[in-house]
Each structure stands twice: as structure tokens, then as C-alpha cells.
């Protein structure tokens, strides 16, 4: 409980740090989108600054900007667009992509760990273990293009890029889920190995419980604790991963919007997206803590 409470106390502080950092960076940015070749008349410049609110004291600007991010009314570079509208239009895509990837990663990760633990040191165990070790090192932006090449271009089974149908979802989700699945497989596998000789497992075996049942009922639950604790980190990985994966597969989501905005030096939009991703990661960390407590009674007492 203590741990969760601490996280709850920290959450607003974390958000404040992110907000201050983003604001400081945006304000210190050199070269805005409206940088003109020739010098602008100082009165025009002053009027522009007044319109954008740059003549106010910094703390006031900060509060106004953050309020604009919070209610989504901060303007982006495109005329008439606000960050709220841009995000609302694309959030569902990224949420679908990330959600599917998370589910796929957890399911395959645990399945691989169970397959390996069912027969320790067998070829299945070695194969899953070493491929998980390798997959952790392969970045999503390498897996993505390779999948495009193999399943999109050489074997034209799936669309190589784009968005809209279920078939479009498969390759990006697999590319995004590979590394977290490998990480989950390794985490779960090592806990399964630790509990293989635990007292309660030996007792269950001695009572004649089948080996699969021992694995799935008695050993799996403790193995889920590190997996649940990892989910906070995984969500951060999935969000950063979605930035490249959406670019690779030309998915119109928040990630590709982030790159677009960064390239266009659309500081307001990058700031809003950074804050959104930051808050999402905070929430996911909290959820991961809740999940750990739900699985592990010891964590509830600590």
C-alpha cells in the first residue's frame, strides 16, 4: 500500500517536472516556424508577441500554456486547429495499436515462458530463451521494416503500410509487441525457474497434481508479479515504439503526429503530446502497481 501511496503522491510532482521541462524547452527554442528571412518591423513583432501572450510574466505564461494543454485549446501551427482536436482525432488509432500490442506481448511472453518451463533445458526451452535474449536487443524500427519486407513485399500476404482494415493492424502490432514479449518471457521464465523447487510446488507434485496444472496454477501466479510490475515500463516502451512503428507503417496516429510536429517545429503540439504521453505512463505505472497488489498478497501488506 505504501508503495502505491508514494506513487500517488509523486504523480503530480512528476507531471509538474515534465510540464516545467517542456515549457522551458519550448520557450528557449531557437528558430520558430515563423522565422522570416528579412527583419520584421518591431511594432509588428510586439503585436505578434502580445497576441501570443509572450509579453506576460513567465509564470503566468506557464499557467496559461498548461491550462491550454489541459483543456486542449492551445493552438497548433495549422490555422484553426487546436491540440485538443488533433489529439482527439488520432488517439483512438494509437490506443488500438498499443492496446493490441500489449495484449499480444503479455500472452505470447507468458506462453513462451510456460513452454520453456514445462521442460527445462529441452530444445524448446533453449530456443525460446535464446530467441527472447536476441529479440530484446532488436529495436522496433528494425523489426518493422523487416516485417514489411518479408510479409508485405516478398510474400504479399499483408498490406505493407496504411491503416483501416484488420489486416493493416497485424504487422505493426507484431513489430511493436516483439521486444516486450521477449522481455516478459525472460522475466516470467526466471521466476518460474526459481519456484520450480519451492515447497508448495513440490507438495502439489507429491499429491499427484499433473505437471501442466502445477505450472499453470501453482507456479504461474508468482511468475505474474514481475510481469505486472514490468507493465509500467512496457507502456513507456510501447508509446515510444509507436512513434517509429507508426512512421514505418504510415499509421495516422499520435506517434506519427509527434514526428510531424517535431519536424515542423510545432512546439505547442509536441509539448501537448509529451505531456499526454507522460501522464499516460504515470497512469500505467499506477495500474501496474495495482495489478501487482492484486496478484501478490505480500505486496498488499508491505
Amino acid at each position: 500500500m505504501n508503495h502505491l501511496l508514494r506513487r500517488l503522491v509523486y504523480a503530480p510532482l512528476v507531471l509538474l517536472v515534465i510540464a516545467l521541462a517542456t515549457f522551458a524547452m519550448v520557450r528557449s527554442a531557437k528558430g520558430g516556424p515563423f522565422d522570416a528571412e528579412r527583419a520584421i518591423d518591431p511594432t509588428v513583432q510586439a503585436a505578434q508577441a502580445k497576441r501570443m501572450g509572450f509579453d506576460r510574466p513567465l509564470p503566468e505564461q506557464f499557467v496559461r500554456t498548461m491550462a491550454g494543454v489541459a483543456d486542449g485549446s492551445l493552438p497548433t501551427l495549422s490555422p484553426g486547429q487546436t491540440v485538443g482536436r488533433v489529439i482527439a482525432g488520432k488517439a483512438a488509432t494509437t490506443a488500438l495499436l498499443g492496446g493490441c500490442a500489449l495484449i499480444l506481448a503479455v500472452l505470447t511472453g507468458i506462453a513462451l515462458a510456460l513452454a520453456g518451463a514445462a521442460r527445462p533445458s529441452s530444445w524448446v526451452d533453449r530456443l525460446t530463451g535464446s530467441s527472447a535474449m536476441a529479440a530484446v536487443a532488436v529495436p522496433a524500427f528494425v523489426i518493422g521494416p523487416v516485417l514489411v519486407l518479408v510479409f508485405g513485399l516478398w510474400l504479399p500476404w499483408l498490406p505493407a503500410a496504411g491503416w483501416g482494415t484488420w489486416a493493416h493492424l497485424i504487422l505493426p502490432v507484431v513489430a511493436l509487441a516483439t521486444a516486450p514479449a521477449a522481455r516478459i518471457a525472460r522475466l516470467a521464465r526466471s521466476t518460474l525457474a526459481e519456484s520450480a523447487n519451492a515447497d508448495h510446488v513440490r507438495t502439489a507434485r507429491a499429491k499427484g497434481v499433473g505437471s501442466w496444472r502445477v505450472l499453470a496454477v501453482h507456479q504461474l501466479r508468482p511468475a505474474l508479479v514481475p510481469v505486472a510490475a514490468y507493465l509500467g515500463t512496457a507502456s513507456a516502451y510501447l508509446l515510444t515504439g509507436s512513434v517509429v512503428i507508426e512512421q514505418v507503417f504510415q499509421v495516422p496516429g499520435l506517434g506519427s503526429e509527434m514526428i510531424q510536429a517535431a519536424m515542423n517545429r510545432d512546439h505547442n503540439l509536441v509539448m501537448a503530446l509529451t505531456l499526454l504521453f507522460g501522464s499516460l505512463i504515470i497512469v500505467c505505472n499506477l495500474l501496474a502497481d495495482v495489478a501487482v497488489m492484486a496478484i501478490d498478497p505480500r505486496a498488499r501488506r508491505a
Binding site: A21, A29, V142, P145, V243, Q247, M258, A262, V270
Partner: protein, 441 residues
């Protein structure tokens, strides 16, 4: 202690293999300027060549004037260049309101165009594709292989019918003494375009440039680009890790040594920063500032120091109770000296082991940034690193999956190096202390 660390490490076959790979990659990348041609050297042949291909070793423009020295002629008595004497013409094909518009090399509108076999479509960024032979009509619908509605302008490159010329250049001490074209003496300066040279023989022997890993669309040698890109990736990885070590060791040592309220506040600081998605802040930073190497070192170093600080703090906390610290303190040593002279050297072992795992993490982040186009820039020009090479390789796939080597080579180089570094780091960590391994996870 170092002896036992190594003897533990040596028993881990994977880690030793990883170390061997790391040593080879680092050596190749460090020696890149001496073992590979400069990566920016353009070969005259526009268009990617597959691995193991050979091209005549000429430059983009080759000048020969009687009595003057040329680099090509150094060390030989006779040069023979086989030249195709045709000319390339670029036709601009554009979609205008859904109908095809063709302009000739002189920008005049054309009604129709016959596309011969072997014509080449040149897209944005110089990406090339094969054209389909046949008749193109202006005003009609455009075929998919030519113009795609998302990118409505393409160029068609047609080679006019060619004749083969044999240029023979006699040299004396690196100076041109006589020039002949198909046996006819030429007494004025000539300029031979590199892309037209089909073969180059020096004293009867073929003189070729060999491309172990092929070339990219602009004719740049991929072996060389990969090594030079690796130099940047490894440099950023090492220096940013060093930066993160400096921050982490100082922060952790101060927190651990001061203890009490200072420690509590500093630990809270770590816990808060732990939940900050630094990579997004770095993206924002890269858009806000100019992306010089120094900023990369600082920004990526600032992302990775938290775990180092935790490890150092825990170590210092236990060390600070030791007699040698008490002795130093009673000898009147200022806290600063105690930290730098007595405490920090004592916890360097685990810190360096953890640093071995930080290097691949930093390389991954740098590649991530350069993949999305926010890599290091120098004088406004992006520098190559493995991440940007992978991005360009992906662009090279086009819509047919050709030019696979442009993706495969940098991707394999990067993934292999990351995997090897991870294996070394894991091996070191397991060798140093299994408990630490669990703590840092």
C-alpha cells in the same frame, strides 16, 4: 577482485562471444577512415549496386589534358577507358488533376512518349525503380508504376542509343602525353563523365572499385557508410554513457554520504525523475535546439544516470560507515575529498559493470532519434548513424522490395552490436554479483 571477475566472465560462453564481436566492431569503426573510402565520396554511377559489385575506379568528372598530371594516371603508362557515348534525358511526368502531363528535357509539353526497355523511374530522394516499356500518353490516366497520387511528380530517365568509344591515354610520369579516341589523336583537353565509363584498364589490367556491401542510390559505398555511421553511434554511446556516469556517481555519492534529509530529498528526486518519459523530452529538446554532438552527449547522458545514482548511493551508504572513512574524516579531510578519493573509487566496480549495459541503451536511443530524422547534425547537415542508415534502407525498399542490402547491412550491424554489448553487460553483471543483477533489473 579483477581476477575473479574475469574468471567468472570467461566461463560464460555467450558473453565471451559478445566481447569478441564488440572488439571487432569497435576496431573496424575506429579504423574506418583507414580501411574504407570516405563515405561521402560519390561514385559516378547513380543507382544502388548490390553487394560484391565492381565498378571502374573513376571519378565523377575525369579531365585529361596533354602535358598535365591526372590522379588516374599515377603509376601507369597507358589508360584505356571504354565509354558509352550516348546521353541520358530526363522526362518530367506529373499528375495534374488526375491526368498525366509529360515534359521533355527542354520543359516542353509532349503528347506521348515511347518508353524503351531499361528506362528508369527516378522518384523523390533519388530512389529509382524500373520503368515498364511501352507507350505513354499525356492527358490519360497514369500507370501505377510511374506516378502515385501521393507523390505526383516523377522523372523518367531514358538513355539515347549508345555507341562505344575507346579512349586511350598515354602517360609519362603521371602526366598525359597523348590522347586518342578510337585511334584518332586528340590534341585538346577532354572531359570524360564517370557514369559513361564502362571499363577502365591501366596497362591492360582492369582497375575496379570493389564494393563489398554494395552502394546506395547515390553511389556511395555501403561498407564505408556503415563503418562511419557506426563510429558516430559508438561515439555517442560511449561519451553519453560517460556523461551519465559522471552525473550518476556524483549524485549518488552526495546522497549516500550526506544521508539524512539530503538523502531523502535526493532519493525522492530520483523516484520522481524515474517516471519521466525522458525520450519524449529529448525529442522536444532536439526540435528546440540545434542538434550538435555536444547536445546529444548531454541529452542522452542525462537520460540514463538514475540507476547509476541508485547503485552508487547504496554502495556509498554502506561504505560511509567504514573505518577508513572515519579515519579520513578525523584526519580533517573535507567531505569533497572523502567522496572523490575514498568512496567513489570503492564503488567503481559495479558502476562500470552497469555502464556496460548503458552503452547499448544509449546507442539504441541515438538510433531511435536518427531513425525518426532527429539525428546529429553538423553545419545543418545530418550525420549518418546506424539509425538513419536503417531509415534510408527502408526508403530504398520502394514498393517492390528491391535493394534489400541497404536495409539489411545497417540493421544487422546495429542489431549485432547491440546484442553483443548486451551479452557482455549481462555476463559482467552476473560475474560481478548475482544480487546486483536482480537489483538493476
Amino acid at each position: 577482485m579483477n581476477g575473479t571477475l574475469w574468471s567468472h566472465f570467461r566461463r560464460d560462453r555467450w558473453a565471451v562471444g559478445g566481447l569478441a564481436v564488440v572488439v571487432v566492431v569497435v576496431a573496424l569503426c575506429v579504423l574506418a577512415p583507414w580501411i574504407a573510402p570516405p563515405p561521402e565520396e560519390l561514385r559516378p554511377w547513380l543507382g544502388a549496386r548490390p553487394p560484391l559489385s565492381r565498378d571502374p575506379a573513376v571519378a565523377l568528372v575525369n579531365r585529361f589534358a596533354p602535358g598535365e598530371a591526372t590522379a588516374l594516371a599515377a603509376g601507369c603508362r597507358q589508360l584505356e577507358l571504354t565509354l558509352s557515348a550516348g546521353a541520358d534525358r530526363l522526362y518530367r511526368c506529373a499528375l495534374r488533376r488526375g491526368s498525366l502531363e509529360i515534359r521533355g528535357p527542354d520543359a516542353r509539353l509532349l503528347d506521348s512518349l515511347t518508353v524503351p526497355l531499361g528506362a528508369v523511374v527516378v522518384g523523390p530522394l533519388g530512389v529509382e525503380g524500373a520503368a515498364v516499356a511501352g507507350e505513354l500518353r499525356a492527358g490519360g490516366a497514369a500507370p501505377r508504376w510511374l506516378v502515385d497520387p501521393a507523390r505526383p511528380v516523377r522523372y523518367l530517365r531514358l538513355s539515347e542509343a549508345t555507341a562505344v568509344q575507346l579512349w586511350s591515354i598515354d602517360c609519362n610520369d603521371g602526366r598525359v602525353s597523348a590522347i586518342r579516341c578510337d585511334g584518332v589523336p586528340v590534341d585538346h583537353e577532354v572531359e570524360l563523365r564517370g557514369e559513361r565509363v564502362l571499363a577502365l584498364r591501366a596497362d591492360g589490367r582492369e582497375r575496379n572499385a570493389f564494393h563489398l556491401l554494395g552502394t546506395d542510390q547515390q553511389g556511395r559505398d555501403l561498407w564505408s557508410r556503415t563503418l562511419h555511421g557506426g563510429r558516430l553511434s559508438l561515439l555517442v554511446g560511449l561519451v553519453a554513457t560517460a556523461v551519465s556516469l559522471c552525473i550518476g556517481v556524483l549524485y549518488g555519492a552526495i546522497a549516500g554520504y550526506r544521508g539524512g534529509r539530503t538523502d531523502a530529498v535526493m532519493v525522492a528526486g530520483i523516484n520522481i525523475l524515474d517516471a519521466v518519459p525522458f525520450l519524449f523530452l529529448v525529442i522536444l529538446l532536439m526540435t528546440a535546439l540545434d542538434r550538435s554532438l555536444i547536445i546529444f552527449f548531454a541529452a542522452l547522458g542525462a537520460v540514463q544516470w538514475l540507476t547509476t545514482a541508485r547503485i552508487v548511493r547504496a554502495q556509498v551508504l554502506s561504505l560511509a560507515a567504514g573505518d577508513f572513512v572515519l579515519a579520513a574524516r578525523s584526519a580533517g579531510l573535507p567531505p569533497w575529498r572523502i567522496i572523490t578519493r575514498h568512496l567513489v573509487p570503492n564503488c567503481l566496480g559495479p558502476v562500470l559493470v552497469f555502464a556496460a549495459l548503458t552503452v547499448p541503451a544509449v546507442i539504441l536511443e541515438e538510433s531511435f532519434l536518427s531513425f525518426i530524422g532527429l539525428g546529429v547534425q553538423q553545419d545543418g547537415r545530418p550525420l549518418d548513424s546506424w539509425g538513419s542508415l536503417v531509415a534510408q534502407g527502408m526508403a530504398g525498399l520502394g514498393s517492390h522490395g528491391g535493394q534489400v542490402w541497404l536495409l539489411a547491412v545497417p540493421a544487422l550491424a546495429m542489431t549485432g552490436t547491440l546484442l553483443a554489448l548486451n551479452l557482455v553487460g549481462d555476463g559482467l553483471r552476473a560475474a560481478l554479483d548475482p544480487r546486483l543483477a536482480r537489483m538493476a533489473r
